[in-house]
């Protein structure tokens, strides 16, 4: 079929002659166009995933009654918008070393860079870190791609005088009742 097509989605634009001559196929063009549009719109539903919180030395423990939840939506052209909430429960703690949090899909490395050092990777989101027992310690921060894995982020804050990456004792010592929430937006590569 030699009908004219659009530049972005390749939608078929038959002219009058092609419509008459390929009438039977015209309905197929409709179907094909609808599939192209539907695919380009991305996933219509809000998806869930179970984020993994880990650290460079010893992984944090969520604790009894704690929760870690992740939601995301696939947008056109493989961009992902998502959110994570973490609540530390009884016996929960921050492990040791700088934290990492897994995302639902790998990043597109042609657009986003990653680094284990503060301020050297792409910033793709924001977060808030709540100290449940001493509210004054609570901080906002940024989500940065780390280089350890293509689907993980670390968190930056300004709270501590020397440490800028969130870890077990920064911006405070994490324990029962503390919370972390963040959002992210990035371009993914699907396997």
């Amino acid at each position: 079929m030699t009908v004219e097509t659009t530049t972005n989605l390749n939608l078929s634009k038959p002219d009058d002659t092609e419509i008459g001559r390929l009438w039977a196929d015209e309905d197929e063009l409709h179907k094909a166009n609808n599939v192209l549009i539907d695919t380009a719109l991305g996933s219509p539903e809000l998806l869930t995933y179970e984020p993994t919180l880990y650290a460079t030395t010893t992984d944090p423990t969520i604790g009894d009654g704690g929760e870690i939840n992740g939601w995301y939506k696939i947008l056109p052209n493989d961009w992902i918008m998502g959110w994570v909430t973490i609540l530390f429960g009884t016996g929960g703690g921050g492990g040791s070393g700088n934290w990492r949090l897994s995302l639902p899909e790998n990043r597109d490395t042609t657009i986003h860079s990653g680094s284990a050092s503060a301020g050297l990777g792409s910033i793709i989101g924001e977060g808030y870190f709540r100290d449940n027992s001493v509210t004054a310690n609570s901080q906002l921060g940024l989500a940065q791609f780390t280089s350890d894995l293509p689907s993980s982020i670390l968190f930056l804050t300004e709270a501590d005088s020397s440490v800028r990456v969130i870890q077990d004792n920064s911006p405070f010592t994490w324990t029962d009742g503390d919370r972390l929430t963040c959002s992210f937006f990035y371009k993914a590569v699907f396997a």
């Binding site: 939608l11 634009k13 380009a40 961009w79 503060a118 301020g119 050297l120 300004e158």
Partner: protein, 184 residues
């Protein structure tokens, strides 16, 4: 053609009294309208880094790189990475960086501290003294430039050659922006 159209994309909606003769034109028009809606693009540019009095000098092996995407009609995402090189000179005055495409004229612009539409975040890293590193809120100084405000420490202020600290060799600025473009 007197057919009705949809409010957002202007898709043509012929009724029973407006049948086949213009079908091909109508279909082509609708296809183009839908296609324009998905006019996604990935691009790069070199931001111009300037200051109110004297522009900074990037220094030997310093880099300034910008990538941007048109995610949705009129929605622009920008990522800027600056690495200061050997012999970097900080210049003087409030800093600004150029945008790849102008911001929508309805978005407020202002050069004063805490003013102008907030369009993103930045992290400014002090290589030698990590404790100086800061987050910035990036905002529109004009419809073609952004500036920054610090939001922590003892004295929140506009991002300048001396605030939140004086940049030097190996420092890094990472910026992510979202804004609507001027489509006029």
């Amino acid at each position: 053609m007197s057919t009705t159209t949809t409010p957002n994309l202007g898709l043509i909606k012929p009724d029973l009294l407006e049948p086949m003769p213009n079908w091909a034109d109508q279909n082509a028009s609708n296809c183009d309208a839908i296609d324009d809606f998905f006019n996604y693009s990935e691009n790069s540019y070199e931001p111009i880094w300037s200051a109110v009095t004297t522009a900074p000098t990037l220094g030997l092996d310093g880099t300034i790189e910008g990538t941007w995407q048109r995610l949705w009609p009129g929605l622009i995402r920008v990522e800027i990475h600056i690495d200061t090189g050997s012999g970097f000179i900080e210049g003087s005055g409030a800093y600004s960086l150029s945008l790849p495409v102008n911001a929508h004229p309805l978005l407020e612009t202002d050069t004063a501290f805490g003013s102008g539409t907030a369009v993103g975040r930045a992290y400014i890293r002090d290589f030698t003294t990590t404790a100086n590193s800061q987050m910035l809120t990036m905002r529109l100084r004009s419809n073609s430039t952004i500036g920054g405000d610090t939001e922590a420490g003892n004295s929140p202020s506009t991002w300048t050659d001396s605030s939140p600290f004086t940049l030097a060799h190996n420092d890094r600025i990472t910026i992510t922006l979202f804004y609507l473009e001027d489509t006029a």
